[in-house]
């Protein structure tokens, strides 16, 4: 289904951008108390690389994604997209959040069209909306409202809403975290296939070690808050990957060990 839709896709997809994160630290002010969340984070992702960020809950991974998206400036350090400093949100870096956050007053089509509309190019680029909806397999639901969709469908719409902008960096903030395990497995495969074909750089925050090693070229493991980089692990297996691959299982065990969770393995 995805392959067919991709074959029909009209607009050429932008290639990925390089992302450099240099000595980024960040903290929140909560009632006058300064709570450090990120402590001197530095890493780079090459164009088209798929990097998974893994770490304990609440360690600041999602905050890092907000900084990459440009929704907030870091307290210190710098972020660059293809060498250009990131100073604010820009549609070349699109986020898919844990909640689909579709606009309930818009139909599926209008939700997906949001980015093109905001950039004022919807009128001449309408076909891109149709292509993105086809890509996630929801052609029959163009006119449906978000309350009529299941959780997995809503997240697919959110994915289409991001992909329609031809992002250079796709930022995935636990996008599959709230889906049931079957839908999750299906969508993991779809994301892998989309990424392989379109070549955007992907940054994925997840709690799921298996998801991280199944999808990513590289897994970066964070410590507890304030987050520091604990390990940067290359996953050197070819795609399409197999979940039962013993090498992946070994990596998973290794990463769980880093997180202090290998007792049951």
């Amino acid at each position: 289904m995805v392959e067919q839709a991709l074959a029909r896709r009209v607009s050429p997809l932008a290639a990925g951008a390089a992302l450099d994160i240099e000595g980024v630290s960040h903290a929140f002010d909560i009632d006058g108390v300064v709570l450090p969340v990120l402590d001197d984070i530095s890493f780079s992702a090459g164009p088209g690389e798929f990097v998974a960020l893994l770490g304990p809950s609440g360690c600041g991974k999602s905050t890092l994604l907000r900084l990459v998206a440009g929704l907030e400036p870091p307290r210190s350090g710098g972020l660059r997209e293809d060498g250009e400093p990131i100073t604010g949100p820009f549609p070349s870096r699109v986020v898919v959040f844990q909640d689909p956050t579709l606009f309930p007053w818009r139909t599926v089509w209008d939700n997906v069209a949001l980015g093109l509309e905001a950039q004022g190019i919807l009128k001449r680029e309408r076909h891109r909306v149709d292509a993105a909806i086809d890509l996630v397999g929801l052609s029959a639901f163009r006119k449906a409202y978000p309350h009529q969709l299941s959780g997995g469908m809503a997240q697919r719409v959110a994915l289409a809403r991001a992909l329609v902008n031809d992002p250079k960096i796709l930022i995935l903030d636990e996008p599959l975290g709230k889906l049931d395990s079957l839908t999750r497995i299906t969508m993991q495969a779809e994301i892998a296939s989309l990424w392989q074909r379109s070549g955007f750089t992907t940054l994925l925050v997840t709690h799921d070690v298996e998801e991280a090693v199944f999808l990513a070229n590289r897994v970066i493991v964070f410590s507890d808050r304030p987050a520091r980089i604990k390990a940067d692990i290359a996953v050197d297996r070819p795609y399409p990957r197999h979940r039962g691959d013993p090498r992946l299982a070994a990596l998973r065990r290794h990463i769980l060990g880093l997180l202090g969770l290998d007792a049951t393995w």
Binding site: A69, V95, F97, T101, F103, G115, A118, Q148, R161, N165
Partner: protein, 346 residues
């Protein structure tokens, strides 16, 4: 996507007799009576009303008694005819059947009213006019009544439109901009809770005409709830929506027009509804006190001349207009907020 409207769903059980007919089961007359009981009794009640007009002599001098009786018989016949031809008229007949208990109650009420006023004067007469006296107002005083309706509607529409527009814009600005909120919020706190009618004396000597003064008061009564509700609607829009729009390249104007306002619209409609209610009150008071036209003025005038039937006639028209306005508002809301109806799921 299936889109059953509520009325269609409501119509299903009412067409049970249609189903029976389709199944080829012939309905005998008693069965027909049983199926359509309420409608048949409603028809009888209207016959009773017609008879109650004719059986006794009027105590007063009313010219429309016979005409009213004829109208009652026509309605009774109409109810019966529509019920009998139910299969032909489909939805209309189903609608009538749904309302049959109300038609029955109305017929009984009118009969009782007729007997208690025109025939035996159980209720003291000048104060409680019979139905035919009110009909007489509608036929004989129609031009004046229509002028009053026109004046009221004009005044109300103007004031309401201004109040709603100003309230909406103010609400959005307060909800959006911190500095606007800083200045407007205290003013709103200070002035808003004051009943708009308290401004009457001030308005009538400040404004050049009583018409502009009333427009101002109606706008004030409308504007306050619309402002507050719009503001709270805009303020309660989830930050996640703004984040999504911003990462997709939205500028501030897009965030206001395409995110904040649509998300706040359900609140805005609550404000518009509340504003409609309080503006009616102001309209009537303003017309009673200052404006020399409109239904409020007509009411006041009728009371002054002890023309009680005119008063009741005007009251009925007024209530029809008010409920019509509210129905119109709800229809508009349902049309604009289709997405809110989380009825159909899959």
């Amino acid at each position: 996507m299936s889109t059953y409207s509520a009325s269609e769903i409501a119509a299903i059980p009412q067409s049970a007799d249609e189903g029976a007919a389709l199944a080829g089961r012939p309905l005998s007359p008693p069965a027909l009576l049983l199926e359509n009981g309420p409608a048949v009794f409603a028809s009888l009640a209207w016959v009773a009303f017609g008879l109650s007009c004719l059986l006794w002599e009027d105590l007063g001098d009313w010219s429309r008694t016979h005409a009213l009786a004829v109208a009652a018989f026509v309605i009774a016949g109409g109810i019966l005819a529509v019920t009998a031809s139910g299969k032909l008229l489909g939805r209309f007949a189903a609608g009538l059947q749904a309302r049959a208990p109300w038609l029955l109650a109305l017929g009984l009420f009118l009969s009782l009213w007729e007997v208690a006023t025109a025939k035996f004067a159980w209720l003291p007469l000048p104060f409680f006019p019979p139905p035919q006296a009110i009909i007489e107002v509608y036929t004989d005083d129609l031009p004046k009544l229509l002028d009053s309706v026109f004046a009221s509607v004009k005044l109300q529409l103007g004031g309401y439109a201004i109040g709603a527009a100003v309230g909406f814009l103010t609400g959005v600005s307060i909800g959006w901009s911190r500095s606007v909120g800083y200045w407007v919020h205290p003013v709103l706190r200070f002035i808003g809770p004051l009943p708009a009618t308290a401004w009457l004396p001030f308005a009538f000597f400040t404004f050049p005409s009583s018409w502009s003064a009333s427009t101002f008061l109606i706008a004030l009564a409308t504007g306050f709830p619309v402002t507050v509700l719009t503001w709270s609607g805009v303020a309660s829009v989830s930050n996640a929506y703004y984040d999504v729009a911003r990462t997709l390249g939205a500028r501030p104007s897009f965030l206001v027009l395409k995110v904040a306002i649509p998300a706040a619209l359900p609140h805005v409609f609550v404000g518009l509804f509340m504003g409609l209610g309080s503006s009616f009150a102001v309209l009537v008071v303003a017309e009673m006190i200052g404006v020399k036209a409109g239904l409020g003025w007509y009411l006041q005038w009728a009371q002054g001349w002890a023309a009680y039937s005119n008063m009741y006639a005007a009251l009925i028209v007024m209530s029809l207009l008010c409920s019509g306005a509210i129905t119109l508002l709800f229809r508009t809301r349902d049309r604009l907020l289709v997405w809110q109806k989380g009825v159909v799921k899959w």
